[in-house]
Symmetry: C2
Subunit: 189 residues, 2 copies
Amino acid sequence: MPRVGLSREKLIEAGASLADREGFAAVTLAALARQFEVKLASLYAHVRNSEDLKTGIALLALDSLADRADAAVSGRAGKEAVAALAEVHRRFAADHPGLFEATRFPLNAEQAAGSGGMRLARAMRAALRGYGLSEADEVHAVRLLGSFFLGFSLLELGGNFAHSQPAPDLSFTRGLEALDATLKTWVKS
Amino acid sequence: MPRVGLSREKLIEAGASLADREGFAAVTLAALARQFEVKLASLYAHVRNSEDLKTGIALLALDSLADRADAAVSGRAGKEAVAALAEVHRRFAADHPGLFEATRFPLNAEQAAGSGGMRLARAMRAALRGYGLSEADEVHAVRLLGSFFLGFSLLELGGNFAHSQPAPDLSFTRGLEALDATLKTWVKS
DNA sequence: GTTTTTTGCCTAATATCATTAGTTTTTATG
DNA sequence: CATAAAAACTAATGATATTAGGCAAAAAAC
């Protein structure tokens, strides 16, 4: 019986593709075993357990998002950079809901420290450079923007904006304008 | 064999309690069957399936959150009301993470229309009354605030603010101040 | 009170997913 | 070529979920 030639990387890649096509919940060890035409137990030679596989997919998804964020803020600052970054988040969530969901898989501190999540925070700080905030205020602003990006995408994906007008596009734009305005005149303590 | 006296309401209540104690993921038909000392298949006389049960729990959790929101904005408007509402969201998420997660369970349009989620939106609009926004701008603001509340709680619960200073409390306060400032001078199109 | 109907709970079966321990076979290494 | 390492398999186990049919408790009807 020749070996199929599985590897951890292959499983993670295939898992991410499956997440993108059918949603993160469709990613199971059983599904991947079927895809590679091996017995399920064979996968344990390459991943510790289901959670280990999903962690790998989450890290890959975060890196994918971070790549796009880095590209978006490159050569930009201030309002333009923030808007570009916001667009990246929203487009990623809308175009790749399965991968977006994967980015939300819980990671431990060590995993998070080396992840695309940190790169995202750096891209956000780079985008905020044009606002001239202090170091502490920059963190507050990163958290404010990060919360808005995440919350908006989740609410939109969940259909929360589907039952009322105006269209979400406009709310997104107006929300960014409001945030830009307040960043320009950041309140002092 | 005397009947245990199960009912749909009892199962939903017990499920919500279990979610609160051990997290939403711990809520399974099997777990509830054990708790009531009946065979799992018996539960199907009261709920259609696992999703039906979880939908019921989600609606109960949303109502619980909405009750707190209504109480918080009662007799308040403007900055004070928004801050109280924000606190309710954040406290609920932090004190009842299992129930908070339940509120995020997907609902169809009909279920959502009659849910505590609509009451939350109303409480939000009531809180915004003090800012004198137009009807359309009010929707944008509801979505901006709702996104921030949800996003902040999720990031905080996920440990995203655990690896850096300043403490999340301060970021939350400063974020609200920034949002208050921009609501006061809402950008015109 | 008795009889009939409804409905709650159980049994049996089935399906799916996940994990572990040990075995066999393939591939890599010396 | 022989040996060791590792990939893939087998068997077993455990957990969750759902369906169909049967039995008996409780409710409804007489």
